[in-house]
């Protein structure tokens, strides 16, 4: 179902949702949101379980690292205020602090994934152009660059090889191949823009794929942030 939502509406809904999550300090809300995100992903046709697992691993890792930081390096005032706030936290307030921090990160990540894994790049850009007034030039520049990704990474490898063959070893974060790449990108942007403009590209054009906004899109856009507010009220 999340696949079919208009990308602009989805962006706004999830963006506002994520900001609201920023002012949420209840682990229960965090967990529920993470679950909702997980549900979105499960029902999407654009991602598989296999793929999902590969993304979840690093997320759990980072989430764990936040847990330990929150637990071992908590701030005193925060614990104090939390102990007063949440009377239920009779157990270990430091542990709770860790749980809150790590579930918060988990929730952010699940919402994030349910955007990036379920949105088609062409649709997103078309929708931004049609609904969010993104300049035509910007939209198509993004699509063009995305479509050249594999060529760019090939070139990057080639420029590294070219250096090695000259007996100039390439270390990680070496700027030499990066410099060569920058030169190329300056040249490419020139050629590409000439090619596109000489094919008649400008702001005045039709678009074959029309992205529509339907009532359910609006419902998602407004409903999702409202749901977070609701959850917050419920648990506080």
């Amino acid at each position: 179902m999340i696949d079919a939502i208009n990308p602009t509406a989805k962006t706004i809904g999830l963006l506002v949702g994520s900001i609201l999550l920023g002012v949420t300090f209840q682990w229960q809300t965090n967990v529920l949101l993470a679950l909702i995100g997980f549900l979105f992903l499960l029902t999407s046709n654009r991602t598989s379980l296999n793929q999902l697992a590969r993304f979840l691993l690093p997320i759990l890792l980072i989430s764990a690292s936040y847990f330990f930081t929150g637990w071992l390096f908590h701030s005193e005032e925060n614990l104090l205020s939390m102990a007063v706030d949440t009377m239920t936290a009779a157990e270990n307030p430091a542990l709770l602090n860790g749980v809150t921090l790590s579930t918060r990160l988990l929730a952010f990540a699940m919402l994030g994934l349910s955007f990036s894994l379920t949105t088609d790049s062409n649709e997103l850009v078309y929708s931004f152009i049609q609904q969010a007034k993104m300049p035509m030039k910007m939209g198509y520049a993004i699509l063009t660059a995305l479509n050249l990704t594999s060529l760019i990474s090939q070139e990057y490898k080639k420029s590294k090889l070219a250096l090695q063959v000259r007996n100039l070893p390439v270390r990680p974060f070496d700027t030499k191949p990066l410099f060569t790449m920058m030169v190329r990108m300056v040249r490419w942007s020139d050629r590409l823009s000439l090619a596109m403009e000489s094919k008649g590209f400008s702001e005045q054009r039709t678009m074959k794929q029309q992205m529509k906004v339907r009532p359910q899109d609006i419902v998602f856009m407004i409903g999702f942030p409202l749901a977070i507010v609701g959850l917050n009220l419920l648990f506080s």
Binding site: T11, L14, L15, S18, I19, G22, F25, F55, P58, I59, L61, I62, A64, S65, F68, T69, L72, F73, H74, S75, E77, N78, T100, R104, F108, A109, L111, G112, L113, S114, F115, S116, T119, S121, L124, K137, M138, A141, I142, A145, L146, L148, T149, I152, Y156, P172, T175, L178, F179, M182, V183, M185, V186, W188, S189, D190, L192, S193, E197, F201
Partner: protein, 194 residues
């Protein structure tokens, strides 16, 4: 200040450079994750990404230098974020907001010079302002108030150093070299921006 509208070529340059840095970012993400894993048992995992934080500002500062028009830094970061999201960044749409803030941080000092000065002084200032602005933002996002002040201070200092190195120094060096290589005539016909 160059008030001309952004051209298709400008947008393409921003997008292409974003993709190049996408590859580079991935390297930083791997390095950061590895470091985080190492530090997690000590509770210092959150520091793992900080040494590489400056890498995230590089695209913005480089395109600002190359194009020399207002809002280029912000737009580049947003494009970079969109591209990252499309290629599968796990933090999704929130990185677009982070990107906006990063771009803003990088660009502020250039705006104060009316996009006319590109010296080390300005790039180093950009590194500092990017650190401060993003620190406030990630502080809000990860709730630094819930962490020990010492670890928060460590985050700030490491990020600042990383930013000074990658953003203030390395990016400026690459750009100067591009200028020296004589290929920027393509971007500034007539050398109007010298």
């Amino acid at each position: 200040m160059n008030r001309e509208k952004l051209t298709l070529r400008d947008y393409l340059l921003m997008a292409l450079i974003s993709v190049v840095f996408g590859v580079f970012y991935l390297l930083a993400v791997y390095a950061g994750t590895a470091l985080s894993t190492l530090l997690t048992p000590f509770g210092l995992g959150v520091l793992g990404y900080e040494p590489f934080y400056g890498v995230w500002f590089m695209a913005a500062i480089i395109t600002t230098y190359l194009i020399r028009k207002p809002v280029v830094g912000i737009i580049t970061e947003v494009i970079a974020a969109l591209i990252e999201v499309m290629l599968g960044n796990m933090f999704g749409v929130i990185v677009m907001l982070s990107a906006f803030i990063q771009g803003l941080g990088v660009e502020l000092p250039f705006a104060f010079t009316k996009y006319e000065k590109y010296s080390y002084k300005v790039t180093m200032t950009a590194a500092v302002s990017a650190t401060v602005v993003t620190f406030l933002w990630t502080g809000f996002r990860s709730n630094y108030l819930a962490m020990d002040w010492r670890i928060v201070a460590a985050i700030f200092v490491i990020r600042l150093l990383s930013s000074l190195f990658f953003t203030g120094y390395l990016s400026k060096r690459i750009c100067d070299k591009l200028d020296e290589a004589g290929i920027l005539t393509y971007l500034n016909p007539g050398g109007a921006n010298e």
